[in-house]
């Protein structure tokens, strides 16, 4: 499956907000995919399941319709700007050259300059300009009249498309495109007019002298001349001043017309096109690199579910003889039972201190065989002393059993050192229960099992 597109990611984000940021349980059978693909599949399934299609696409449709409307508006504005520069005097059609240049090129250049400056100085407000506040207001308006169920889809769509750099480059692209429409429709209108009507070119100014306009024209003309366009000379410019008598020279007319068209293309359309291209490229790059914030708990939760780190566990070799449910009632901590004097004290894996207080301490099989001999020869009771905190396992049980010639007359003493009474040395309730269970299995009566401090052990030993 191919990588999800930007639109797919937007949809994934919309689904997230529609779900209220709660991933829920996802037993969708989406396996063996990477996380992106799995998310995409999941989003599609959910959209189908909840019939969200219309809900999710409506913001984009609204956006496209608004763009279309704005494009039409700007096209009309471009034509209006051109028409504003036209007037008639008698049978002559006049065109105000510098007025037209100002409305078509002047504001355009100013906004490009601001945009470039904004990019260089990284001022988001300047880059996106006043357009930046439009989606925000739009969103507010929409949020007000759309019902609550639809708001998350709108919110996610808006956040994905318009937040951060993505929003900056998107608005830049839109703004350049609208200016292009404006200039393009103006240019088209001029071409149509020039094709079917004969215009006389005039200009007028209350404050500025002819020298200023000569300098301006020459300045603009320099680049145009590179393309082989012939430019009105100073005389023609002076002669074109309105009120000074209209220049009806067809060469001058042609020169003026080409100058106008050339200036609009070279100083208006081309820079816009470049800016639009650049902004669009950056936008596409942002879109390509766009990923939802996978660090959000929602996505982390989903990752655990959709791309698990481990398989479900399964028992491959079951317990053939499940042990019966063990009684959980614990006995109270029993004190050391009274033991007849002369008992044989056999230690089992005792620590050094306690080991010194018993007849023999079993640490290995040699100790065990010796202890077994002692036990068999013992005339009095046998007391097994173990560390209470140690674990009574089957090995312990087998070895202790081999020491008890007469279980009924034997004792099981759980040594619990008082000195250095750390949590670790203490016999836990659980462990005590384990030992009682062992004693029961060894047939040592419960009243002959008990806890024993080191001092008590020392007393017994003497």
């Amino acid at each position: 499956m191919s990588r999800p597109t930007f639109a797919d990611y937007v949809r994934i984000e919309q689904v997230r907000l529609l779900q209220g940021d709660e991933a829920g349980d996802n037993n969708l059978g989406i396996n063996g995919q990477n996380f992106d693909a799995a998310l995409h599949s999941r989003a599609r399934l959910l959209v189908r399941e909840h019939d969200w299609e219309r809900l999710l696409t409506s913001p984009q449709q609204w956006y496209q319709r608004s763009l279309l409307a704005a494009g039409l508006l700007f096209a009309v504005l471009g034509v209006v700007a051109v028409i504003n520069a036209l007037s008639s005097s008698g049978s002559n059609h006049l065109l105000n050259i510098y007025w037209l240049l100002l409305v078509l090129l002047g504001f355009n250049s100013l906004s490009i300059l601001l945009w470039v400056f904004g990019c260089l100085a990284n001022i988001g407000g300047l880059i996106s300009g006043t357009l930046g506040s439009i989606p925000l207001s739009l969103q507010r308006i929409m949020a007000r009249w759309r019902n609550n169920a639809e708001r998350p889809a709108l919110q996610a769509w808006y956040d994905s498309l318009f937040s951060g750099s993505m929003g900056v480059w998107r608005l830049s692209t839109v703004s350049h495109a609208l200016w292009l429409v404006y200039l393009g429709s103006g240019l088209l209108a001029l071409l149509v007019m020039f094709s079917v009507r004969q215009y006389d070119f005039v200009w007028g100014s209350t404050l500025l002298s002819a020298d200023f306009f000569i300098a301006l024209t020459n300045g603009l003309a320099q680049a145009l001349q590179l393309f082989g366009l012939s430019i009105p000379d100073a005389q023609t410019i002076v002669a074109s001043r309105s009120g000074d008598g209209v220049v009806s020279d067809s060469i001058a007319r042609r020169q003026w017309a080409l100058f106008l068209l050339g200036a609009i293309v070279l100083y208006g359309l081309l820079p816009r096109l470049l800016c639009a291209g650049l902004a669009y490229m950056l936008l596409r790059q942002q879109e390509r690199n766009f990923r939802p914030d996978y660090y959000l708990p929602y996505y982390v939760d989903l990752r655990h579910q959709l791309v698990p780190e481990f398989s479900e566990s399964e028992v491959v070799d079951p317990d053939a003889h499940p042990s019966p449910v063990q009684e959980s009632a614990g006995r109270p901590l029993a004190p050391a039972p009274a033991i007849a004097p002369g008992a044989l004290l056999i230690g089992y894996e005792l620590d050094a201190v306690a080991a010194a207080l018993v007849t023999i301490n079993i640490l290995n099989s040699a100790d065990l065989s010796r202890a077994q001999q002692y036990s068999q020869q013992a005339t009095g009771p046998v007391a097994l002393v173990v560390e209470g905190r140690n674990l009574p396992d089957r090995g312990v049980k087998r070895e202790l059993a081999s020491l008890l010639a007469n279980p009924g007359g034997s004792y099981l003493l759980l040594h619990q050192p008082i000195a250095g009474n750390t949590a670790e040395a203490k016999t836990s309730e659980q462990r005590l229960r384990d030992w009682y269970r062992l004693a029961a299995q060894l047939k040592v009566p419960a009243e002959q099992v008990g806890l024993l401090s080191t001092e008590q052990l020392a007393k017994l030993g003497t």
């Binding site: 407000g125 930046g132 982390v300 481990f310 028992v315 003889h321 089957r394 087998r398 384990d434």
Partner: protein, 456 residues
């Protein structure tokens, strides 16, 4: 070097009873749901498998086995009639399982170990080195499979650890590993796979894939956690409540309520990230109950606990429970924003700052969290992150934890005041784009990462 195999690497986790075999598997899976863990003999009485996946593919299958309980008895049974311990002897013993009901569990272990590529022999280093452990190693070694001893419960057991190392070396096991299933450390997990690489040369590439995958997942997890903490701290730093008609008390309690709510939500999300439950936090001795911080963010005791002196005069307000500043001054429009406002992008800029400017003009107060509360919030987040990243999923009891009232242990990062000041430039607008706010955000991320995940 070698090609990638299709079949997952089979690893049997073996060892004496109650040494933490199931815990090891849980910690590696980062799941609390695997098997049963109990401080008792014979908790696991079956062989259970779970596989580690990398990009959806099974790479490594872990087999949790019952504990070996009577190795000396088993050794005696195996070597009876003058027969020597060998693979064939073990095999015939396993085949005659019915004849040895007393060694039911041991046979399960041997059967699984014999079918595996590698054995992890888990050792509770707190135990004494007795003959029975040697017997276990002798029996396992006779299967002819590579064995890696894994030393568990190593915190504070330097001497014991050394002695266990000596013992395993005497059994010719040199590639041993320290891996505490309770006090988790990702580096140790990585070393485990590396040791496996060293003894399973033919699966080197598969294991490398696993290492790379696990590392990037862990990295992502830590980053997600840091990001969540960062979000919380930013949200708290820019939290602002208007004082309406002099109702300062009402504003105060509203602000506190909001701050607590932010912290609780953050806690909930972090626990979820690390797949821990509320119970874990209680066990980790964090002052949390029912998923809620037990110690109120605004109590004097909490301040003390984190080493913040509530008695100093500067913080008297905080100690009295005021804990707040007036935020009328300290609003910098910033040269760039001002230029933008002047140059015609004014609508959005004014919307951003206008409310604050008008409130300053009409002398309407807003309150926000003061520095002490913010510092406390930071320390609590750091503490939480540290604990979460170092807690194994096997942890049952209480961890060896540093006490929270040790001022030296968790000092405030020295960049904190400047970070906080930077964050405050974004008051009431968390997507503020001014450079001061952005750099404070980045610095906060760095501080959280460094302080929480530096290996102690």
């Amino acid at each position: 070097m070698n090609t990638s195999h299709a079949a997952p690497i089979q690893v049997a986790v073996v060892g004496h009873t109650n040494t933490g075999k199931t815990s090891l598997v849980r910690t590696l899976l980062r799941s609390k749901s695997f098997g049963a863990v109990n401080d008792s003999a014979g908790t696991t009485r079956h062989v259970e498998r779970a596989s580690l996946l990398a990009d959806g593919k099974h790479v490594l299958s872990l087999y949790d086995t019952p504990g070996l309980e009577d190795s000396l008895g088993l050794l005696a049974a195996l070597s009876s009639n003058e027969r020597k311990l060998s693979v064939t002897r073990l095999q015939s013993f396993i085949d005659e399982a019915g004849k040895h009901p007393g060694f039911d569990q041991e046979i399960k272990v041997l059967r699984q170990a014999g079918q595996s590529d590698l054995l992890l022999y888990v050792v509770d280093v707190r135990a004494r080195r007795l003959e029975k452990f040697s017997a276990e190693l002798d029996i396992l070694a006779s299967l002819g499979k590579p064995i890696i001893p894994v030393f568990n419960f190593i915190v504070g057991q330097t001497d014991q650890l050394r002695q266990w190392r000596d013992m395993t070396v005497s059994h010719n096991l040199h590639a041993a590993l320290e891996f505490d299933t309770v006090a988790f450390d990702f580096e140790a997990e990585k070393r485990l796979y590396q040791k496996m690489q060293s003894v399973l040369e033919s699966r080197y590439d598969d294991l490398q894939r696993l290492i790379d995958h696990r590392s990037s997942e862990w990295q992502a997890l830590c980053e997600a956690a840091v990001q969540r903490s960062q979000t919380l701290l930013i949200d708290a730093a820019i939290l602002q409540v208007d004082v309406v008609d002099g109702g300062r008390e009402a504003a105060l309690s509203s602000l506190r309520g909001k701050a607590r709510q932010l912290e609780q939500r953050g806690l909930h999300d972090l626990l979820k990230l690390f797949a821990f439950s509320r119970q874990d936090i209680e066990l980790a001795q964090l002052p949390v109950s029912d998923g809620q911080w037990e110690l109120d963010l605004f109590s004097v005791n909490t301040l003390r606990m984190f080493g913040l002196d509530a008695r100093s005069s500067a913080l008297k307000g905080a100690a009295a429970g005021a804990g707040l500043d007036l935020m009328v001054g300290g609003i910098s429009l910033g040269a760039a924003a001002a230029a933008g406002a002047l140059l015609g992008a004014g609508v959005s800029t004014f919307r951003r700052y206008g409310k604050r400017i008008t409130s300053a003009l009409s002398s309407q107060d807003s309150i926000c969290l003061d520095d002490t509360s913010m510092s406390l919030l930071l320390l609590r987040q750091l503490d939480l992150l540290r604990r979460l990243t170092h807690r194994g999923h096997a942890a049952q009891g209480q961890m060896e934890l540093s006490t929270m009232d040790d001022k030296q242990q968790h000092p405030l990062p020295e960049q904190w005041p400047s970070i906080l000041a930077g964050l405050r430039t974004g008051l009431a607008n968390r997507s503020a784009s001014n450079s001061q706010f952005q750099s404070a955000k980045a610095e906060l991320f760095a501080v959280l990462t460094k302080t929480s995940f530096s290996t102690s």
